[in-house]
């Protein structure tokens, strides 16, 4: 019982950290404002950390609760849909790649970063009924790769160093 409560508290804590990181990211100056959607994805440090240290279900829970909370606080159903498309595809890819045990956390994070953007653009293509977002896809896949490397390095450090209980 105590374990359960502890886990619940930890997951709540991680959700809060992920939300704060999302906020911090908004405060950072945009790296390249000409193309919307380019971001580091700092909250993914938390998601990947939970994925590695606790498991897929836990990571999905943190990710989902964060998205719902952000949508309720700052967003609308549309932004929630975009978050969900990116987050779900990204987490699914990371969970599978982690299971395969073929890449280190950096490779897993790169796949997550790229697929996060791919998921969002696929949804945008569907919503806008246009296939002309292909070049966005290319740009955002490049930035997703770079961001993924950075997030993977941070996540790897966190997985190695953060201790509890």
């Amino acid at each position: 019982m105590k374990k359960r409560t502890q886990k619940l508290a930890l997951l709540g804590l991680f959700t809060a950290i992920a939300m704060v990181l999302a906020w911090v990211e908004v405060l950072l100056p945009p790296l390249f404002s000409a193309v919307p959607g380019i971001k580091l994805g700092l909250p993914n440090i938390v998601i990947i950390f939970v994925l590695y240290r606790m498991g897929v279900k836990e990571a999905a829970a943190v990710s989902l609760v964060r998205m719902v909370a952000v949508a309720l606080l700052f967003g609308n159903p549309m932004t929630f849909a975009y978050s969900l498309a990116g987050g779900a595809l990204s987490l699914a890819a990371m969970a599978i790649l982690r299971r395969l045990d073929f890449f280190s956390i950096i490779g897993v994070s790169v796949a997550g970063g790229v697929l996060h953007n791919v998921g969002q653009i696929l949804l945008a293509m569907f919503v806008l009924r246009t296939a002309k977002l292909g070049y966005y896809m290319i740009i955002l896949a490049v930035t997703g790769t770079v961001a993924g490397i950075f997030i993977g390095l941070c996540g790897g450090l966190a997985v190695k160093r953060v201790k509890w209980s």
Partner: protein, 141 residues
């Protein structure tokens, strides 16, 4: 020595990092090729938009032959004469000292642009009509 290494041991850290590098390298190669293909195959635009100092100055159709005076600076003393002819746009004359923009080839493909640095004028070809060119929402994630 090689025979003993035949059995795959992907869980070693070195292997994984090497796999990461392969993944990233493969991504970069694919993306560069895709980007190149897009750049080479990009279609004709239908309009040019003129921006001055980052603000929209006007949008002009490439379908109609026209001449546009882009007046900038204090009292509109600085002038770039934009000419649209046969579906292509070019700057015929300008009062800037360099005149680099007047030597730029006529533009008509989506994304091509002519820039006049001294007057802070940017002329870009866009595809406005029909589909596309709706801003993609910046998802809050």
């Amino acid at each position: 020595m090689d025979q003993t290494k035949e059995t795959p041991k992907p869980e070693t850290k070195k292997h994984k990092l090497r796999n990461d590098l392969i993944l990233i390298a493969a991504l970069v190669v694919v993306l560069v090729l895709a980007g190149l293909a897009f750049w080479l195959l990009r279609g004709e635009g239908d309009s040019v938009i003129v921006e001055v100092n980052g603000n929209l100055y006007g949008t002009y159709s490439l379908a109609k032959d026209q001449t546009v005076e882009i007046r900038t600076g204090e009292g509109g003393t600085e002038l770039n004469l934009l000419v649209i002819k046969d579906g292509k746009a070019f700057v015929e004359s300008a009062t800037c000292p360099g005149g680099d923009c007047t030597r730029h080839n006529p533009i008509s493909r989506e994304g091509e642009s002519i820039v006049c640095l001294p007057h802070k004028v940017v002329i870009t070809v866009k595809l406005v009509g029909g589909e596309g060119e709706k801003p993609i929402p910046d998802a809050v994630t």
